[in-house]
């Protein structure tokens, strides 16, 4: 049995610069190690040896067991240190941890993804899954908000998904110059326009908590029940297995009960301040 506290060595095979402060690492298990299996929505603890660990959602395709993909925004000591990695370097991986997006439960329903900023990264595996199993789902809608046009993550992929006849993609930015031809405004504004059945939709939401609050309001106004909305929460995770309590969220631990929660199960604590 693998000890969840011991990192497994992975080799960096590729580093891609996504945005000024955001990059993607492709990792493969060190020689002799098994392929890595995970479910969309789960995360790993990435260990930069000698520096520390940081929880990072997996942003690659769960069907591709060969390469483990993480998209990271450099915001703190460890994530900044990870920016120094290059192909051939080693990194420690603990995981996968946490709950997953409800891909099985969503079968037969419309799937609506509402996300902002780097929140698109943890949802990308869910998008890959729906697209690979397109006939199992109803209408598929991706609504994405970014700070500015220059901050749009996975831009080429978004354009590719938008070009599909079976997928509706709408993108907005909070601020733009006049050269931007797309939407300007917050992402909850896109919800009333999207064509889906509120009574038979599974909605997956990931982004800053304030963005999620207003998104849920807009979804409720549209008639989507809290039991059909799933959110991915973010807290300061350390052990990732529910021992240390750093990520305690009321009676729950984000690391092991989450990060993906059905909204009605956390509604009562979602707006509690300082929780």
């Amino acid at each position: 049995m693998v000890d969840p506290m011991i990192p497994t060595p992975f080799k960096v095979t590729r580093v891609r610069r996504e945005l000024a402060d955001t990059f993607t690492l492709d990792l493969v298990p060190a020689e002799g190690r098994r392929p890595f299996a995970f479910q969309p929505g789960q995360f790993n603890m990435l260990y930069q040896f000698g520096i520390g660990e940081v929880p990072i959602s997996i942003s690659g395709d769960a069907a591709d067991g060969g390469v483990l993909v993480h998209t990271i925004r450099a915001v703190g000591g460890v994530s900044n240190a990870l920016t120094g990695l290059a192909a051939g370097d080693m990194v420690g991986v603990r995981g996968p941890f946490g709950s997953a997006w409800p891909m099985k439960e969503a079968e037969g329903a419309d799937v609506v993804i509402v996300t902002g900023g780097i929140g698109l990264a943890p949802l990308r595996p869910a998008i890959y899954h729906v697209l690979a199993n397109r006939k199992k789902y109803g209408r598929f809608i991706i609504l994405y908000g970014a700070r500015t046009p220059a901050d749009i993550l996975f831009r080429k992929e978004l354009e590719g998904w938008r070009s599909r006849i079976d997928t509706y993609v709408d993108v907005t930015v909070d601020a733009a110059g006049t050269e931007w031809q797309g939407n300007v405004g917050v992402v909850p504004k896109l919800i009333p326009r999207a064509d889906f059945d509120p009574a038979n939709a599974t909605v997956l939401v990931c982004g800053p908590e304030v963005m999620m609050r207003f998104t849920i309001q807009a979804l409720n106004q549209r008639g989507v029940g809290d039991d059909r909305i799933w959110v991915s929460m973010e807290r300061n995770m350390k052990c990732a297995v529910g021992f240390c309590g750093h990520c305690q969220f009321g009676p729950k631990f984000v690391c092991k009960d989450g990060p993906v929660f059905r909204f009605d199960t956390i509604r009562d604590i979602f707006q509690v301040r300082e929780i």
Binding site: G116, A175, V186
Partner: protein, 165 residues
Amino acid sequence: MVQIEGMGKELAEHPFFDGMESKDRELLSGCAKNEVFDADEYVFREGEPADKFYLIRHGTVAVELHAPGHDPMVLETLRKGDIFGWSWMVQPYTWTFDVRAVELTRVISLDAKCLRGKLEKDHSLGYELFKRFIPVMAERVGAARLQLLDLYGQPAERRSRSKKK
């Protein structure tokens, strides 16, 4: 030139008038006409008289702010089903932003002087109209506040900015 006939149907098709009694819509339709703006054509500019309000039937407009020494900024884009321009309700009845058509845009415009005259004569009509305006205004103020939060900016940047304030 205000078209007197034929606009009631167009108004009925716009979501802004959902649920309004047809007699009220017909009254308002006397102030309405169709207009078309080409891509990059300005519907109005800041400081000009706010003599209309607009309902988008097709296309997209950008609400812009131009400040000396800065590149123009798009504050918001509005699309089919949206309305824009409420300076016609607030003295001194001048536009506070620029609005530019991003693409070929078809709108219904309602003449402000005509509207204000009808609403003064019929306050219940005014109430019906304002019941539709207020939620739009509230939603736009709320959205503007969210944009100000710079939700997707680096946490450290946001913290330092709030400390400076």
